[in-house]
């Protein structure tokens, strides 16, 4: 097998892992599988495009930050898009999920609602931006030789580095800060957390903000390395679920590791079975986990 599959798999896995952290956090704290999470990825990518477009219109052309293909205008747009997507997630919660929670709707009703929200958001993005693929930059990048015959572009290495920073920051936030402790307390037992004086709604907002921002980061990576399309997030949804369940619901390192495993499996399958079967890999991983170890690598027994 070509060693390049390792790099390709790691990069795809980093994107999946970033998205899967959001899935696993909302799953652990709000207790439902959010089918609209893929659309947060898409939202992040298109928000970046919109902000970068607006900035470029006022500032004019800017030279890229060598050796990367992105400009500092894009960097600003990415930061704005992460915050904006977190906000979109909170707004969706206010409009849809919070009223359902208030009414004590069953898990499955909430899941259907998220399915409906996914379709509506995706089609709205397609209406506003059309289905035509878009790109952050038209710069060409030459892949640099690494060790062992593997190659990667500077952008790819940047994305890997950024992913490490985001994952470590999220992990530290959850394990070392008061806000993170509150989140874990709500994940354990919402009623008990409430009795202990934790503002559960605040924790919920923080969860959406964090999940949305990380999803936007995944969307930005996918947009930078591949392209921006209205279905980009929805196509990632099954890998996200597979990664989150493989890692164990509620575990941030688990989601990241699960993402890397799914990404590497996809890259290996693309080389051995054929790239057209890539989308089936997550299903195989998912079924294997559900059959062999349903609580995942780092999950606790439900």
């Amino acid at each position: 097998m070509n060693p390049q599959a390792l790099i390709d798999g790691l990069i795809a896995g980093a994107m999946i892992g970033l998205g899967a952290i959001g899935v696993t956090l909302t799953y652990a704290i709000l207790r439902f599988a959010n089918f609209a999470h893929g659309e947060f990825i898409t939202t992040g990518a298109y928000l970046s495009l919109a902000i970068a477009g607006a900035l470029a219109a006022t500032l004019g052309a800017v030279a890229p930050l060598s050796p990367f293909s992105i400009t500092w205008v894009l960097v600003l747009a990415f930061a704005g898009a992460m915050a904006g997507t977190g906000l979109v997630a909170i707004l969706l919660d206010l409009a849809l999920f919070r009223p359902l929670r208030r009414r004590g709707a069953s898990v499955i009703i909430t899941v259907i609602a998220s399915f409906g929200a996914s379709l509506a958001l995706r089609s709205l993005i397609e209406f506003v931006f059309t289905a035509k693929p878009a790109y952050f930059t038209r710069e060409l990048q030459i892949a640099m030789p690494l060790f062992g015959g593997m190659r990667a572009t500077p952008d790819q290495l940047l994305i890997l580095g950024l992913t490490v920073v985001l994952v470590v920051a999220t992990h530290l936030l959850l394990t070392r800060s008061d806000a993170g402790r509150a989140m874990r307390a709500v994940a354990e037992d919402p009623a008990l957390a409430k009795v202990c004086g934790i503002d559960v709604e605040r924790v919920v907002r923080l969860t959406w903000l964090l999940g949305g921002a990380l999803a936007a980061a995944a969307g930005i990576s996918a947009g930078l390395l591949v392209q921006v399309r209205p279905t980009m997030g929805f196509d990632l949804l099954l890998p996200l679920f597979a990664a989150a369940i493989l890692g164990g619901i509620g575990s941030v390192p688990g989601a990241m590791l699960g993402g890397l495993v799914v990404g590497l499996c996809e890259a290996m399958a693309a080389q051995t079975v054929g790239a057209e079967w890539r989308a089936a890999v997550s299903f195989v991983v998912l079924i294997a986990v559900l059959a062999l170890r349903p609580r995942g690598l780092f999950g606790v027994r439900a």
Partner: protein, 315 residues
Amino acid sequence: MDASLIAYLAFFLTVALSYAVLTLGLNVQWGLTGVFNVGVAGFVLAGAYTSALLTTPPVEGAPGGLGLPIAAGWLAAAVLTGALSLGVGILTMRLRSDYLAIATFGFAVVIHLAALNLEGLTGGPFGISFIPRPFASLAGNGLAFGLANLALMAALVAALWLVLERLKRAPWGRVLRAIREDEDAARSLGKNAVRFRLQAFALGGAVMGLGGAASAHFIGFIAPQNYLPILTFQVWAMLIVGGSGSNLGAVLGAVLVWGIWAASGAAVDLAFPPGAQARAASLQIVLIGVSLCAILLARPRGLVGQRFRRKPPQG
């Protein structure tokens, strides 16, 4: 009324009733049992392709094309899709309810991929054409052909209705509702909840496969792009608007939502210039998505549905 209007109405109702078959299938799974299926499109696809491969006329060098009678195709579609549902169910039924949702979603993705990639068997993106249509001998007379097909689809819906309504009132259906309402209580009475859920899931899947076969034969050709997640979503919208748990609601919802869908499509055609119609079609989907969420918030019982009383999970 002139003949072309009647022919159009017959066509509209036949399509709506083919959706009603799918909605009845979903009602067995979700309405009666509370089992969640996000892969409806995958099961419909499996049924449609099974029947198409068995009944299309033989072609030199191509697999399938057994030229069997249409009834044999329908039967095989129901049996195979039921077996597939059983397989997916066995893997996930013991787990959390939304793991089944994720697994069925994955099933639909994979089976769609298989229909696209196994070109030798499925015709790849171009699908299968020349699927035999019922009453093909009447095809010269559009009105008679349309009415005969409407009668056949209506007979299928009526037969399914009778069987499902009977099952719902039988002890089997009462156990399902008991499990849906309070699983612990049902189990304490010695009912094996997992087994009953599996049976309902397989039965619902078989009905969906049958519906897929029926509509494939009515239209005459199939392609993977007819079985995207939007189909799953439409069927869900129909059941929820009509009212889950009720077979009447399932059929009413199918006709009503298909009517709204067709009318809003026509409105989009009128309101937007031809160049912008693809774009406007996505607006149509936004409206349907938002209305589904609004119904879930405002009237989760739908038009005629039962109140859903499943307890929220403890802890």
